[in-house]
């Protein structure tokens, strides 16, 4: 640990010289929580935050989760999945040109976009449930802003060192050393940002061929534009803006207020155990004083620039890095861990004797969210598992509405669209139910007979012209009901489309 010069002390510490040690062997960090409400003015330029590296179970979990989620994001477009001939073999692909969404064994057509809507509803309800149980863990662990910012800070640490070295480097005059470190950091940032933007576009085209075309300058302009946009946003949001995105831009911190309650587990400083805080001297008794030695390790670790000891704050993303920082100190000074921990207001009140009940996992709010989540999931699952492999769409000609033939019979034309969602070619038999005397003919197949069969290629829409003629004696009303039914000959799966026959009677 390095000693700090008096000049770098925070304004709040001026006047009385702060002791260098918070306890025996524990350095007292001179740090101001720049984002704490008391220190932040309206119309104030951003003050840089230099989060200090901590070690502990939460930090370890965050590293693992970061590696896993980035691996998924960068790697997923390269995963192959065998499909029928003529279909893309990319496991996850949003194919705008072919108008399909592929996700491993699932293939969604544009008219089935409600599955995506359902997924979004499930995602939203899951977020509500998790937030009401554990606060903003999404923000602290899973949000892309947090993950990429974490990664960018790690790069920064690699080039510029940990908190103290970074602060010193920023204050130092420009030198070849400083230039090299800053340049290296920004180059790696830009490379990561470019990889992020580049990976994004791979979800929309065949990854290997698009990647090749991209570097040969032959990819479509949209590929370059979107890669550029994502490169820019990654670089600026994760590199430059960081915690400001969460504090000023993101609506989620505001919404979370409606999700959490007294029994939500949030990162909490147990003030009743920590106060009164103050430096602990060698041999001093722990009786009559709090466990907080005011070392400010929690403040130095905070990527949001707040002091968790000020209580619940809008800026807190529940990332638990302060828990790791504090626990390490507690071990060192041989006090129990958990001065800062995931805890609820209800638990705090119970410990203070103000309430009888502590945290309940099962409470109306979590039950509502869980039930809603289960309901939507079941509906989606049923809808998906009973998803039909065929679709029938019958469009009656409107121009002309009907055609009178020379013998007095009347003919209507229909465009029949059969959607084959199988990945194999299928044959479909069309039957038309209607008044007696009805006759059917198909354009391009004069010998089709009364129950024509159509072949539709794998994963395609077949479009056929069908004429229905009714003899003069069947024309009993201005319009008569007809029912078109197609049946997949291999499986006997049916799709039905009722329609009308216009006779022209009375016109």
């Amino acid at each position: 640990m390095t000693t700090q010069s008096p000049a770098s002390r925070s304004p709040g510490a001026q006047g009385e010289p702060a002791p260098q040690e918070a306890a025996v062997g524990v350095h007292r960090i001179d740090v101001t929580p720049v984002n704490a409400a008391a220190n932040r003015k309206l119309y104030k330029a951003r003050e840089p935050i230099y989060p200090k590296l901590v070690h502990g179970p939460f930090r370890a979990f965050k590293w693992v989760f970061l590696a896993f989620s980035l691996l998924v994001y960068y790697g997923l477009p390269w995963v192959r999945w065998p499909r029928a001939v003529g279909e893309p073999d990319q496991a996850v692909l949003v194919d705008f040109e072919g108008r399909r969404f592929y996700f491993f064994f699932i293939e969604i057509w544009p008219q089935e976009v409600y599955y995506i809507t359902g997924l979004l509803i499930i995602a939203a309800l899951s977020l509500f449930l998790v937030t009401s149980l554990f606060g903003r863990v999404w923000c602290g662990y899973a949000c892309p802003q947090t993950i990429w910012t974490d990664l960018f800070i790690a790069v920064e640490r690699f080039f510029e060192g940990d908190r103290n070295q970074r602060m010193r480097l920023d204050k130092a005059k420009w030198s070849p050393n400083k230039l090299a470190r800053k340049l290296g950091k920004h180059i790696v940032w830009l490379l990561i940002a470019f990889a992020t933007g580049g990976a994004w576009i791979l979800y929309f085209h065949d990854a290997p061929s698009l990647a090749r075309d991209f570097f040969l300058g032959q990819a479509p302009a949209t590929a370059y534009i979107f890669a550029g946009i994502l490169t820019f946003t990654t670089y600026s949001l994760a590199g430059m803006m960081r915690e400001q995105v969460c504090t000023y831009m993101c609506p989620w911190p505001r919404i979370q207020g409606a999700m959490t309650d007294n029994e939500t587990l949030e990162v909490t400083y147990r003030a009743e155990r920590g106060e009164p805080r103050g430096p602990h001297r060698r041999g001093e008794s722990w009786d009559g004083r709090g466990d907080c030695i005011d070392c400010k390790q929690c403040v130095a670790a905070c990527p949001m620039g707040i002091d968790i000891r000020d209580g619940d704050q809008l800026e807190c993303i529940n990332c638990a890095l302060c828990i790791d920082a504090c626990d390490a100190i507690m071990v060192k000074i041989e006090r129990p861990k958990g001065l800062i921990a995931y805890d609820s207001r209800a638990n705090t009140q119970k410990r203070l004797g103000a309430a009888k009940r502590g945290t309940r996992i099962l409470r109306p709010r979590t039950i509502y969210y869980a039930v809603a989540l289960a309901l939507v999931s079941v509906v989606m699952l049923v809808a998906f598992s009973s998803r039909s492999t065929i679709d029938l769409n019958v469009l009656r000609d409107r121009n002309p509405n009907y055609v009178q033939l020379s013998d007095g019979s009347v003919r209507n034309g229909y465009t029949v669209k059969i959607i084959n969602k199988n990945n194999t070619e299928q044959t479909y038999r069309l039957t038309i139910d209607g008044p007696a005397g009805l006759s059917v003919s198909v354009v391009g197949a004069p010998d089709a007979g009364p129950e024509p069969e159509f072949t539709v290629g794998p994963d395609q829409v077949g479009r056929f012209r069908v004429y229905v003629t009714l003899p003069r004696e069947a024309l009993t009303a201005a319009s008569l009901p007809l029912t078109f039914t197609v049946s997949e000959t291999a499986t006997q799966t049916e799709a039905v489309n009722p329609t009308m026959f216009q006779t022209g009677v009375g016109q």
Binding site: V403, Q404, L405, G408, G413, V443, G444, R465
Partner: protein
Amino acid sequence: MSTPDNEREIDAVSGVETTGHEWDGIKELNNPLPRWWLWIFYACIIWAVIYMVFMPAIPGLPGAEGATRGLRNHSERVNVARDMAALEEARSVYFSRLTEADLSEIESDPELLTIALAAGESAFGDNCATCHGAGAQGARGYPNLNDDVWLWGGTLEEIRRTIRYGIRSEHMETRMGDMPAFGRDELLSREEVNDVAEYVLSLSGHSEDAAAVDRGAETFAAQCAVCHGDNAMGNRDLGAPNLTDTDWLYGGDRETVRETIWSARNSTMPAWESRLDDAVITALAVYVHSRGGGEED
């Protein structure tokens, strides 16, 4: 501006100089233009100069045709010609197949049929719909192409021939049939025309005057049966319609039939050979044939 300092008026409230104009006691402040606005204005001027260098810009200079060409040598006319050529090129793959294919093959080949129907529908909308209607449903004097009534034949080959050479057009190979204006040209008297009309109506069961029908039948046999046939079933070589069916091109009421016999109709259709290329004409024939009334060879 050039107002002397001692004449400038400063607004007491805002401390800003006024323009000196006054309307009913309301004065206009002379605020400067916002800086950002000025920068955009200057940027536009610079952009205009650059644009004039690179793009066609200054008209009427001696030596320049139309306008200065600009360094990029840009021409919308050339661009359109290039796009059209690219379109023709892209289409030619399919169109050459249409031209080469035997007519009867097209309908049994699903891919060719799809191409022909798409091209035919679009060409029909551009060229034919004006008279025959967007749905080919026809109008008075313009045949309905959806039904099974054909003046000149409803097979693919006959339809293509009609489209290619037209009806009573100026083309040498045109469909030709000429009905005399029996009344106007005084070939038949007014009474005879009325009697023939009565006979024609009786063929589809629309006459009650048996005596007139009998008189008309004689005249019909002498004057009309040459083209329309002894049994009035028509003659497609001459475009003479079948008079016994329920379909009337101009109308089946008594007055209209009399008028048709009196002054004849002889409607026309242009020859499309000189306006559309062969593949489009073939596609049109397939499209019309597919409208439901097409006949097999």
